[in-house]
């Protein structure tokens, strides 16, 4: 009963944690820092090594970057899937949709334009 009562009263603002001890909060940031360092180190390692199949490297770097952004969101900005966080997550989801459309759309369209474009020397010839 009291749980639902609490939920009604207290939505969480983005970045806000409530009702946890200092020790626990510091621990949360330490976990976040540890994971972030691990992921960063991995992506720098992957970028500079010959041990990994070369064509997979760009995908690996992007996946590691997305994972690290997730770690930052959860452990540093405290954006979680809890019921008190719904508004923040919905705003984030909309932002991600726009970001995906902008980046994915640009790359897709410009790649096709590039492929359909006449090579530069032929354009120069036509202009003479």
């Amino acid at each position: 009963m009291s749980d639902t009562h609490e939920l009604h009263q207290t939505d969480l603002a983005p970045g806000e944690e409530r009702g946890v001890s200092v020790k626990y909060r510091v621990f949360g940031y330490l976990i976040g820092l540890g994971l972030a360092v691990l992921l960063t180190a991995t992506s720098f390692f992957v970028a500079g090594t010959d041990l990994v199949w070369q064509p997979s490297i760009p995908v690996a770097i992007i996946v590691l970057a997305i994972a690290q952004m997730g770690v930052h969101l959860v452990f540093f900005l405290h954006i979680t899937t809890g019921a008190d966080n719904t508004n923040n997550v919905m705003a984030l989801a909309f932002g991600l949709l726009i970001i995906f459309l902008v980046i994915g759309g640009s790359l897709w369209i410009m790649d096709h334009l590039n492929q359909n474009m006449m090579p530069m020397d032929q354009i120069m010839q036509m202009q003479r």
Partner: protein
């Protein structure tokens, strides 16, 4: 049994009242939510610069490419600076909630020093590139590079000014509710900058020097 039923009924009443009089959200939630929307729109703006960079990555106009220009050791140091400053900023937000002046100022000072170290390295990198004839006007690739990374650098510079303002305000006015709100906005901003830097070092530097 009857006691339980009475208690139960009473609780339900309270909840009913709550649902009816569920007035406007507290100011700190409204403020921070608004700032969260701003941060997301800032990220949308950065996504445009990222899209431009990704499209123009190969357009070096015969000039130097990323692999020839980027010094990944410096990038790793910059990444470490920002990551640790994000952590220090987290410590500052715990201290702010505990209203502990001493640890707040220490954590903020550490955040500030690490942010300035980041800016120092980045400034030298830019100056070095321009001195080597690889300035923003050299090629479309370098224009996109300087716009994206420079825009992030400007955000960090602005964040550092904001950080110093927050230190001064907490020192002069204490942990008042409005100061706390401003500080929470600042903390969100600083962590969001770190998220954008993750994308910068992955896409710009690591992918850019792989191509």
């Amino acid at each position: 049994m009857t006691d339980l039923a009475v208690a139960h009924g009473h609780d339900a009443d309270v909840i009913g009242l709550d649902a009816v009089h569920d007035g406007p959200a507290p100011k700190r939630i409204v403020t921070l939510y608004g700032f969260w929307i701003f941060l997301l729109s800032d990220m949308v703006m950065f996504s445009c610069f990222f899209a431009a960079y990704a499209v123009l990555l190969g357009q070096t106009a015969g000039g130097p490419s990323g692999a020839q220009l980027f010094n990944l050791r410096n990038v790793a140091i910059e990444t470490g600076c920002l990551l640790l400053s994000s952590f220090a900023c987290g410590m500052a937000s715990i201290a702010a909630e505990e209203r502990n002046h001493f640890w707040f100022q220490i954590a903020m000072a550490v955040t500030c020093v690490l942010g300035l170290a980041f800016l120092w390295i980045e400034f030298h990198e830019f100056a070095d590139l321009v001195a080597r004839g690889a300035g923003p006007s050299r090629s479309a690739f370098l224009s996109a590079f300087f716009t994206l990374v420079g825009c992030h650098g400007l955000h960090v510079s602005g964040g550092t000014l904001w950080l110093l303002t927050m230190m001064a305000q907490v020192f002069a006015k204490g942990f008042r509710a409005d100061i706390q709100r401003r500080f929470l906005c600042f903390a969100l901003f600083w962590h969001a900058l770190d998220i954008i830097w993750v994308a910068v070092f992955s896409v710009v530097y690591l992918l850019g020097s792989a191509v």
